[in-house]
């Protein structure tokens, strides 16, 4: 085909089966829009947020516990009200979403790297290598993410100063989430690899004389990535929720730094004293974010699953 016959990338994506299924489902389009909006706003937080929650100079305790702008006593400067320290809730949510999405994305990326690598090796070579890797996966699966986080948290606490530890908190969460997600990825990739490796195109590569590494990287990897993409998307939601859970429990991000989990935790303390906005808006943000990610994950699964085609 000559270049001028190939429409540009956007048009091709729009015209593809995936694009078609996307357009046909209003819920998916809505989820996609919300996700783009939320992640975009979170990434641009330093530029669009009216206040900087890290800038102690801009925080005034006299502004504490102001309700949202449309309620009586609200201040138009603080759209969603302020928290107990006088920080603008809208700004903290933007910054908090940024932290949550960052933690989720990095931990999923780590989990996918580890899971794909070990899954490919286990599925392709089989035998003892497979047995060892899969037993590690089995053991890993018996530990809930929270327990892994507690464990790492406890260990790091024991040899670090308090300041070092709060700097390390985000790393602890990322490792804990990655550790709890990678076994799932490894299992899926192993299963797909075992199917793909007996297909004739892999045999053909063996006849050519390709080594195991080249066969895994060039032939099998691109063909097992479909299900991985689905798992990664759905687990992005899981990881964001996991971060929120851990931060809510006080294990994760230190309370001074905003993340959706810490915001909900702070809000929870005020739920009976009437300042409900401090819980509702971060909670809604989290729910909407995870729901959108999951809806997109479902769409991806439908598109990539050949049985549903």
């Amino acid at each position: 085909m000559t270049p001028e016959q190939r429409p540009n990338l956007f048009l091709r994506a729009y015209d593809s089966d995936a694009g078609y299924k996307f357009r046909r489902s209003p819920l998916t389009v809505l989820a996609g829009l919300i996700l783009v909006l939320m992640i975009g706003a979170a990434m641009l937080a330093p530029w669009i947020a009216p206040f900087d929650p890290f800038d102690k100079a801009s925080i005034d305790l006299f502004n504490a516990l102001i309700p949202p702008a449309w309620q009586s006593g609200g201040d138009p400067a603080f759209l969603l009200g302020t928290d107990d320290q006088g920080r603008d809730l809208f700004s903290t949510i933007l910054y908090g979403t940024r932290t949550s999405v960052f933690v989720g994305a990095i931990s999923v990326a780590l989990a996918v790297c580890a899971g794909v690598t070990f899954g490919l090796i286990a599925g392709y070579f089989g035998g003892l290598v497979d047995a060892v890797i899969m037993r590690i996966v089995d053991i890993q699966m018996t530990f809930p993410a929270i327990m892994v986080a507690l464990l790492i948290d406890g260990v790091t606490r024991s040899f670090m100063t308090r300041d070092q530890h709060s700097e390390m908190a985000i790393v602890v969460i990322i490792i804990a989430m990655a550790l709890s997600i990678w076994p799932q990825v490894a299992r899926t990739v192993r299963a797909s690899t075992m199917v793909e490796k007996s297909r004739e195109y892999v045999l053909a590569a063996q006849v050519i004389g390709r080594g195991s590494g080249a066969i895994l990287a060039r032939h099998i990897l691109p063909n097992v990535m479909g299900p991985v993409l689905v798992i990664a998307t759905i687990n992005l939601g899981v990881a964001i929720l996991g971060e929120a859970t851990l931060s809510f429990l006080g294990l994760g991000i230190p309370a001074g730094e905003p993340s959706l989990g810490t915001l909900i935790r702070i809000g929870n303390d005020f739920i009976f004293s009437g300042e409900r906005w401090m819980l509702i808006y971060p909670g809604l943000t989290l729910a909407l974010l995870v729901l959108s990610v999951n809806l997109l994950g479902d769409w991806l699964r439908d598109v990539l699953d050949p049985k549903l085609r």
Binding site: E200, A205, I208, G209, A214, R218, P222, N223
Partner: protein
């Protein structure tokens, strides 16, 4: 009264961009006790007619026009149509039985749905049915599970299941395609007898003209959703009127004598793109210039010589070695292939022929025996540098064109991979030139390189596979059932291409097939394999005319033919 009458049936599948008409304006009739053969190539719409009768069209497919009458009543208004009036026999006996229930349980369940029977009565009837379909010792076998039956026996059970409800009409969709030739003949006999005894009408859907010739009373030939010709079997086979039927029959490989080339009377309706014959004057192309490390071709020794080859596979694993169970997949296989010769390797499924091919290609290391290529043992040199050079001269073409090409790679990269790997080309531009030449030689044209495998049909994919195999300039080509997944007219094209390439490039070929007529056309000598061993090896013509071994004799007798021509 006519049992089944299909009037002007049209079936459409509305798609996103266009509506696909799978069946267009088809009119057919079927009497009781008659077998109507529906024949055509894949995508001709023959199976769709079967599913339309059953009312089981996959959504969004639907009947867009016409009627189907069973005994004069529209099938859509018959409440107990499925099961009670119409039964179906599917292609794969492995998947059409539930592996978790015994054969008896499945028969009893079906019997009791359709008749008022107590469990013991139903069981008695089930045993009777198994007896009728020719299963020995039905009393004991009724309590066995599907996996305890062989493929042919399972298909007999499926037929028994189809008979449970005393149907008026049976739709048999490729009932013997998954079976070996020897079993196929028995199943077809059984089907014919049951039809005559019970006065059932049968629609036999198949792509195999041989099956039709043996079984059907009348034949309808389908092409692109339309019935192009219909008539009594003998007339269709010996005096076809329509050009498509003629081309279809001409492409069926003959088992009775050897021809130089397959007659490929290509049938192309107006508007179809005709594939032009590739230019095989290869003198100027890269393929002709020999690789530097290829030995002199003047030796009289065989190019490939296999001695006492054997491999066993683990059937039951255990920690203690003495508790492990093995099966000898291949045992003591010995043969030579002379330079420029085509050796056929035939046998039924499970006879070990593909395993032999894979050992020679280096996919499985053999447990015992030697593989001498040009005098050097390649089995013993796993992974060494010398072996890589030898391996380059042995290439393989696989059976399934739909799985032998990586779906995520462009055709250009697929064909270029062996060239890159062996560093046969100096530059990227040179590689592209070679890939273009190769694609032209196999009849696809250089432009095909930009596309992905899924954009090609089965026959075209097999051409890509051939181009990839030729890319290392091999001297020895292993063809593992290269055409068994293809339609017969495509098969003829591919086999002709292989023949031409063999002549032009002076290739030595190991040709594996279960299809005896194809082997007769392609091979100089033939080895017959049974249960992992070679039971007869001789010149093709001698083997077909005067087979020495009893098993070979049996295979040749069962060879499907279109009758005296």
């Amino acid at each position: 009264m006519t049992l089944l009458s299909i009037q002007n049936l049209t079936v459409e599948y509305p798609g996103r961009k266009a509506t696909f008409t799978a069946v267009r304006d088809v009119t057919l009739t079927l009497e009781r006790g008659e077998i109507l053969g529906l024949v055509g190539e894949s995508g001709a719409g023959k199976s769709t007619i079967g599913t339309a009768i059953m009312g089981l069209l996959d959504r969004p497919g639907h009947v867009a026009g016409g009627r189907i009458l069973l005994d004069g009543t529209d099938t859509t208004s018959i409440p107990d149509l499925l099961g009670a009036r119409v039964s179906m026999i599917f292609q794969d006996p492995l998947t059409s039985l539930n592996p978790l229930y015994t054969v008896g349980q499945q028969l009893v369940e079906t019997l009791r749905t359709h008749h008022r029977l107590t469990p013991p009565e139903a069981r008695g009837k089930a045993v009777d049915l198994l007896d009728q379909v020719g299963i020995r010792e039905p009393e004991t076998r009724v309590d066995q599970y599907p996996h305890q039956f062989s493929g042919g026996m399972r298909q007999r059970v499926v037929i028994a299941l189809a008979l449970c409800s005393d149907p008026d009409l049976i739709i048999a969709d490729e009932p013997t395609t998954a079976l070996d030739v020897s079993v196929q003949a028995q199943i077809l006999d059984l089907l014919c007898n049951l039809v005559k005894e019970r006065g059932v009408g049968v629609i036999l859907v198949t792509h195999d003209m041989g099956v039709i010739a043996q079984t059907a009373d009348r034949v309808a030939v389908m092409y692109h959703g339309e019935v192009v010709e219909e008539g009594p079997t003998q007339q269709i086979i010996h005096a076809p009127r329509h050009a498509y039927t003629q081309s279809l029959l001409a492409a069926v490989p003959r088992g009775d004598r050897k021809l130089d080339r397959f007659p490929s009377l290509s049938y192309a309706p107006i508007g179809a793109d005709v594939q032009t014959a590739p230019d095989l004057s290869l003198t100027s192309t890269w393929l002709r210039s020999k690789a530097p490390d290829v030995g002199t071709g003047a030796s009289t020794k065989p190019l490939l010589s296999v001695k006492g080859l054997g491999i066993r596979f683990l059937t039951k694993n255990a920690i203690l070695p003495r508790n492990r169970r093995y099966v000898d997949a291949v045992k003591g296989v010995t043969f030579d292939i002379a330079r420029g010769e085509v050796l056929g390797l035939v046998g039924e499924s499970g006879s070990g022929k593909s395993t032999v091919a894979r050992m020679i290609a280096g996919i499985h290391p053999p447990d015992t025996g030697q593989i001498l290529f040009d005098g050097q043992d390649i089995a013993a040199r796993q992974g060494s540098h010398d072996r890589q050079a030898l391996r380059r001269q042995i290439q393989m073409i696989f059976q399934d064109p739909f799985s032998s090409l990586n779906p995520r790679m462009r055709v250009r990269d697929i064909v270029a991979e062996p060239i890159h790997h062996n560093r046969l080309a100096g530059s990227g531009a040179e590689t592209q030139k070679i890939v273009g030449d190769l694609l032209t030689i196999v009849g696809l044209g250089a432009a095909a390189g930009d596309r992905f495998p899924h954009e090609f049909s089965g026959g075209q994919r097999q051409r890509i596979s051939i181009a990839r195999a030729l890319a290392t300039r091999p001297r020895f080509l292993i063809c593992d059932e290269p055409t068994s997944a293809l339609d017969v007219s495509i098969q003829a094209q591919i086999l002709n291409l292989l023949k031409d390439l063999r002549d032009a490039l002076d290739l030595t070929v190991l040709f594996i097939s279960h299809d005896l007529p194809v082997v007769r056309q392609m091979c100089d000598r033939v080895a017959v394999m049974q249960k992992g061993q070679i039971c007869e090896l001789s010149e093709t013509e001698r083997l077909f005319e005067t087979p020495q071994n009893a098993y070979t004799q049996e295979l040749i007798d069962l060879m499907p033919s279109l009758g005296p021509a």
